[in-house]
Symmetry: C2
């Protein structure tokens, strides 16, 4: 009993004795604790090591897979062992797409097995595959201009990477545009800013009323080569085989644990990343690292005995990659709760630079002020605009949100490919991400006044 | 008749009228012609485009393959069309190793298909493959210390890349060391300074009296992962299948063309690279680019009407990768000829820095002096020591030799892998390599006095 009353006493005294102040003025009081958190976070490689345990043991974790659910079971056990509170998995039904066997053979003008990855949600080919001539285009406009040549062919979009937002359109919309032009299948140059014959998968869309055709990514190298062959006037023929199919929705879970607030337990600062990944590589960067860094941030606060006024909850959302069902279900399940702030890491746990924040000017000023404590590790830049796919549904209900910003130079070399593996991350940089998230989450959860909306 | 006499006249006059001078003093006379060569070489992307034609059309060109011989046939036709003289293929018998189908499956502790490449010269496995527990070591010393654990296992050498010369020992000697310890097969971490799950092949050796076991490379990522698994105390089991075998030696050719010298046609400056490659990617960097840049250098001299005193010969040596038979046979076939200088490009046609030269001090002084003409394109650094695998046999007979030095930062990312493709090269940088080789070859072939030995 005394244990539950004691922590509230200093707060009560403070409320009685101190004049009312604006929250910003309180931020400066947290310098020492921020330093303590940073020192502790950067003194170990615990997040990196735990991430290694996760991704080596379970591998990639596509929605609907046994690996994803086993990884979630393990996280639940580990969070319990860490002493987190209210550890649980909240049920979410998720799409269940499976890749099956797949291959792409260049048949004419010369034989070569082209490394490829079917895109998430694509249908498969007939069992014997689809053999057809290839039409290479660089853009949707070029396809429109050459639509008469596309009928009965496989269209390859050889769109060079400019920005992810721009180039990813060929992944998401390519099958629709190609089918409208009468193509029997479509291929894209992998959406990647660097390549070693490594195709990259990712989500794609169909449109009602438009024929569904198989859609896959090939390597940057091979897309460029096929384009050069076409420019030389060569006829190009490939044989595409894909067993891809979508099964009925499968059960999954948003996995979470908490440090319950000592003063306002019903007010929540939530932080995390998504625990699902594509079905290649290890999903270490996208987004095992985000989940584990947020989890380690909370575990570390617990270890340091830092129990804030409000509840801090770490969540591994499920099904970010091909459905976003985890983030949506979380917002729905927790609609009755007051979320003070939502923090997501889904850009890789590389060297942290700071955070992108979405919220009111007053809240932005407070978060920027907290950010200054991170300047000693060069991670203090809080900029306008930011969030994450998983916290998006929550943010749309008015919850202030922010995303961890990192040095993303190499992110799109590995993203959604077999090369998204632990070794791409640096243990010290991961520790800095932990520090950044822990400082932000703790202070936002402990400030006397809730972050203004 | 007059055509053969006329070019010699100014030289005769010069010999009669001018006092004897040291060759170094003549080098300065070549500034204008060097500038003309550089201007012409850098005004087009002809070498890059021709390299694209070569590597896209024929693909990789392993010794013994149809692709290699077809590529050589094409080069012969093209050199004739360029108007080069004495275009020919000189017969060489080469080793004929074939990869066949191959795969490596991680079976325990979790299923994963590990990208792999059998190493050149390796034997295959029995048809059902070899399933065994894996022992991971970092070094030969560690294997020796743990030899008792290696019996009946597959040894994986997880040796991080330090320098090629050091790390490649695990590729060349790994199967011998593993077999001596009783292993049933051996694997190496790909010899690469950067990776996106891309294994790298290359030559390996067996030793008489030591059991021959299959030997293959896996990706850097997977080697590190298996090592981490072992460090966690996990049992690792893989299934290795390789159809690799060595067939009887096959006929190939050293392919060459010339500009015959107008004064001393029997004295030769030879330049080139190797036309064979490993059987993955395109062999664009290693070494299609070297052959094509040297070839373009000679074609360009011809186009510019620059016929030097001595003969300039461009050679595409065969079988550098797994035997070195082309370079050896060339030295043997041309033992009666006077080679003034041999130049090789086999480090990728990236941004050229200059040349590494092996020869006497006087010859080095002359080549350094010629190098100054290349300072305007930052490629003028001539350093001590250098050559190439194909010109090695020639150099061992006393011929001065030099190798093109380039910015090799990314060379070992792609080397011997499926990612050695045209797109890794820059058309302007390739043109600079052409300029550098053309200037060196032309002036060395035209100096009144032969390069001193």
């Amino acid at each position: 009993m005394s244990r539950t009353i004691r922590p509230a006493l200093p707060v009560l005294l403070l409320a009685l004795l101190a004049p009312p102040v604006r929250a910003q003025e309180r931020v400066s009081d947290y310098r020492d604790v921020a330093n303590r958190i940073i020192d502790a976070a950067t003194a170990s490689h615990r997040a990196y090591e735990r991430l290694g345990d996760l991704v080596d043991t379970f591998g990639p974790r596509l929605s609907g897979s046994v690996a994803l659910e086993r990884a979630i079971d393990w996280i639940l056990r580990e969070m319990e062992a860490d002493g987190l509170q209210n550890v649980r998995g909240e049920p979410v039904m998720v799409p269940h797409w499976v890749r099956g066997q797949e291959s792409l053979e260049l048949v004419v003008p010369r034989a070569r097995r082209l490394p490829m990855l079917g895109l998430g949600g694509s249908i498969g080919t007939p069992p014997g595959g689809i053999r057809a001539e290839v039409l290479v285009v660089s853009t949707f406009d070029e396809l429109e201009a050459r639509a008469s040549e596309a009928r009965g062919r496989i269209v390859l979009f050889d769109a060079p990477f400019t920005s992810y937002g721009e180039t990813v359109q060929y992944r998401s919309q390519g099958a629709i545009a190609a089918a409208k032009a009468g193509a029997v299948a479509s291929l894209i140059r992998a959406v990647a800013s660097g390549s070693m014959q490594s195709p990259h998968t990712g989500a794609m869309s169909y449109e009602d009323g438009v024929t569904r055709i198989p859609h896959a990514a090939i390597s940057v190298e091979d897309a460029m080569m096929l384009h050069r062959m076409q420019e030389r006037g060569e006829r190009i023929e490939v044989l595409l085989r894909m067993e891809a199919r979508t099964l009925p929705d499968a059960p999954s879970r948003n996995v979470m644990g908490e440090i319950v607030g000592h003063e306002r337990p019903d007010e929540v600062v939530v932080l995390g990343g998504h625990i699902d990944s594509w079905d290649v590589g290890q999903g270490a960067m996208d987004d095992g690292g985000g989940v584990v860094a947020a989890w380690e941030a909370v575990r570390l606060l617990k270890e340091l005995g830092l129990r804030p006024r409000r509840t801090i909850r770490v969540v591994g959302w499920t099904n970010e990659e091909n459905g976003g069902r985890g983030g949506a279900k979380y917002a729905e399940d927790h609609a009755g709760e007051t979320h003070v702030l939502a923090i997501e890491s889904d850009g890789g746990v590389f060297k942290p630079l700071g955070f992108g924040f979405t919220g009111t000017d007053r809240a932005f000023a407070i978060m920027s002020e907290i950010g200054r404590f991170l300047e000693r590790v060069d991670a203090g830049s809080v900029t306008r605009g930011g969030g994450g796919a998983d916290i998006g549904p929550l943010m749309r209900t008015g919850v202030p949100g922010m995303g961890l910003n990192v040095d993303g130079t190499r992110y799109f070399w590995y993203h959604h490919s077999d090369a998204d593996t632990l070794d791409k991350l640096d243990p010290d940089e991961v520790a800095l991400c932990v520090a950044a998230m822990a400082v932000m989450a703790y202070i936002a959860a402990d400030l006397p006044e809730a972050l203004p909306r």
